[in-house]
Symmetry: C2
Subunit: 422 residues, 2 copies
Amino acid sequence: MADTPRPRVVIIGGGFGGLSAAKALKHAPVDVLLIDRRNHHVFQPLLYQVATAGLSPGDIASPIRWILRRQQNVQVWLAEAVRVDTARRVVVLTDGDVSYDYLILASGSTHAYFGHDEWCQYAPGLKTLEDALEMRRRVLVAFEQAEREPDKAKQRRLLTFVVVGGGPTGVELAGALAEISRHALANDFRAIDPESARIILVEGGPKVLPTYSPELSQFARSALERLGVSVWTGSLVTNVEADKVSVGGEVIEAGTILWAAGVAASPVGASLGAPLDRAGRVLVQDDLSIPGHPEVTVVGDLSALRKPDGAWHPGVAQVAIQEAEHAAHNIERAVAGQAPEPFVYHNLGNLATIGRNSAVAELPRVHMKGYSAWLFWLFVHIFKLIGFRNRLSVMTQWAFSYMTYQRSVRLITGNDGWSDRE
Amino acid sequence: MADTPRPRVVIIGGGFGGLSAAKALKHAPVDVLLIDRRNHHVFQPLLYQVATAGLSPGDIASPIRWILRRQQNVQVWLAEAVRVDTARRVVVLTDGDVSYDYLILASGSTHAYFGHDEWCQYAPGLKTLEDALEMRRRVLVAFEQAEREPDKAKQRRLLTFVVVGGGPTGVELAGALAEISRHALANDFRAIDPESARIILVEGGPKVLPTYSPELSQFARSALERLGVSVWTGSLVTNVEADKVSVGGEVIEAGTILWAAGVAASPVGASLGAPLDRAGRVLVQDDLSIPGHPEVTVVGDLSALRKPDGAWHPGVAQVAIQEAEHAAHNIERAVAGQAPEPFVYHNLGNLATIGRNSAVAELPRVHMKGYSAWLFWLFVHIFKLIGFRNRLSVMTQWAFSYMTYQRSVRLITGNDGWSDRE
C-alpha cells in the first residue's frame, strides 16, 4: 500500500462548501488540494457589517491555509481556475494545469443584474471583502459630499440610498444604513443632518424575505419602517444609471445604489459540459455528481438540485456545508469501492437581522422575532465565526457599538480614492 | 461683536499636525475648517503593524470628523488642496476654492526615491493605509507564490525580502517580517519552510537608527540579527527593478522590496512662494510663518526649521504636534492683536521596537533597551491611540498575538488581486 499513490482530490473554492469538504476529508486516505483565488475564507453572513462600517475585514475573514494548518493531507494554493477538462481530468488554471482523481467544484456565485451587466458600475453587489469595502466607501463618501454641497436638490440626492433586493442581505443592509444615519453619524456633521437621509428598499416580489413565512416577512417590514426605511414591494427595477434607479415608471435620484438582488453561477460550471439551469447552475444528479462523471461533484451555490418537494435547495451556507460533507462522504465511499449515496438536506433554519435590536428566525419547530431572535442571531453568528481571535474581536466591538451606537470602522480607503466619483 | 464675522482658520491636513492645531483652537474665537483628502486620521507609528498583518486598518485610524465631533467651531471637509494663492488668501481645491484669514499648512510628506520615481512601483513606501495594505498584499503573496514554485532559484527569490532604509520604520518592518516567517507562518505551508525566508535590511549610513545613540543603534542591530535579519549598513541602493535591488556592485534578487528610506515634502508647499530646502520643505521663520505672510504657518514634515544647535527639527510626530499647538497659539495672539512668539521644541524622546520582545527608547534623561523598553513602547502606543475602541482592540489583539505568535490579519485584498504580479 505504501507504494500506491493516494488519490488526489481537488477542491475549487474556499467558501463554506470548499472548506467544509476539505475538513470532512481529514481522515480519508486521499491528498487534498484546495484552490481559491483569494487567500481567505469570508464569513459571508456578516459581510454587510463590513459594508456598513461595523466590522473590519479582518474580523470576518481568515486565511484558508491557517484554518487548515493542522490538517496534514491538505495543501492550499492561491490560484484561479479557468475551466475543467473532464475528459483529461484536469483543472486549467490561469497559470498552469492540475490533474485530479476526484473533483469537488464549489466556486459559488457572483452578482447578476438580470442581463444588464452595465448596471454593476452604478450599483455594486456584495460577495467579497473588496465589494464590502467599495460599498462602505460609497456610503461614507455620499455623506461627505453632502456636507459640502450647497445645492439642496443635489444634497437630497446624495442623502438618498437605494437598496435593490429584499432578501436577507438587502434587509440587513437597509437596516444598518438606517442606524448609521440616525445614530452613528448624527453629531459629526455641521451642514447636513444625517437623520434626513432617505433609505429605500426596493423588492420586485410582494414581500421582503420572500422565503420566510408571511408573519415573519410582515414583522421584518414593520421593523424596517420603524427604523425609517421606505419599503417598496412589488417594485421591479427597470433601469439603473449613474445616481438614478428606475422603478416601473418612477425614477429615484439616489447618490448611492446598492445591489442585493440576483446571483449568477460561477462560469467554471459551464465548462463541465453538464446541463445548466437558467442562472448557469449545474444540474447535478441526486448524489451531487454530474452525468457520466461520478468523480466530479458540484456543491453550494453553483449546484442545482431539487428537494423531494420539488423546490430547489436554496443558495445558503447550510446547504453548501451539507452538500460538501456529503460529497466528501461519497469520495470516501468511492475510494473504498462503494457506490455513492443520494444527498438529503436537513433544514436547520433561517435568520435575518433588522438593525441593532431586532431579527427574525425561522427554525424547523419554532419561529422567533424581535429581541429574542436578535439575541439568537448574535449568539449563532459569534459561535459560527472561525477563529477565537475573530469571535473575541466581534464580541468586543458589538458590545461597544451597542453601548455607544457608533460604527467603529468608518474609513474611506481605496487607491482610486473618493475623487473618482466626481 | 455679534455682527463681526469670526476669522476663518483653514487647516490643510488631518495628520498629527493638522489635528493638533484644530484641537488647540477649541476655545479660540475663530471658525476652523480642516481639509484632508482622506476621511481618517492615521496613527502613523503603528502603520507597519498593518503592513505586517498584525493589526487592521480600523485599529489605527479614526474618522477625522468623529475625532472632532464635539468641537463646535470646527468643520471638516473631505477635499484635496492643489495650491495656495497667498496674494488672494485662497486655497485652491480640485473642485473649488476656499478663502482664509489664517492658514496652517500641515500636508506632510510622501516617499522619495532619491530622484528615481520609477522605483516606486517595485518598492512601495509606507505613508497611508493603502500603502500598508499594498505592502501586506505583496508580503503574503510572495509566500503563496513560493508554495507553488517548483524552481528552487525562483522560490529562493520569492522568499527574499529587502527593506531599504534603517530608520525606525525600516527596523520595525524588518523585525516584524522576521517574526512572521519564523513564527506566524511556520506551520501553514507544505512545500516551503517559511523559516528559510531571508530578510535583508539595507541602510546607506554607517548604522541603523541613525539619530539614536551609538549604544542603542548597536543594540537594535544585534536584536535584528538575533531575529535572523541580515543588516547591511554603509550600503547605498543604486538601482531598483522588478525583483532586483542593486547595492553598490551587488544585485540582490528579491521578490519583495519595501521602501523605508527618504521622504519628500507635499507639493502644496511649493505654491506658497516661500524658500524651500532640497527636499521641498518650506523654510519657515522662527514663529513658523513664511516671510511676508504672518497669517500663513507651516508645521510638521512640510516645515523646515533649525534648532538652536543648528540641527533641523526631525520629521516626527512630537515635532508636528508641538509646532501645530504653537501655530494655534500664535493665531490666538494675532486675533487678540498680539505679536507672534518664536517656536521652542521640547524633546520628549524617541522609540523604536524590534520584534515582539525588544525595543529601544531614547528619553531626555534615560536610555532604555530590550524588554523594559518594549513594555514602555507598548504602553505609550496604546495610550496615544485615538479612541477607546481602538485602544481596547489593539490591547486585545496584541495580548492574543503575544500568546499565540499569530498575526491575525493575514488577508490579501485589493481589486487588482494578486494576479497582477505575474
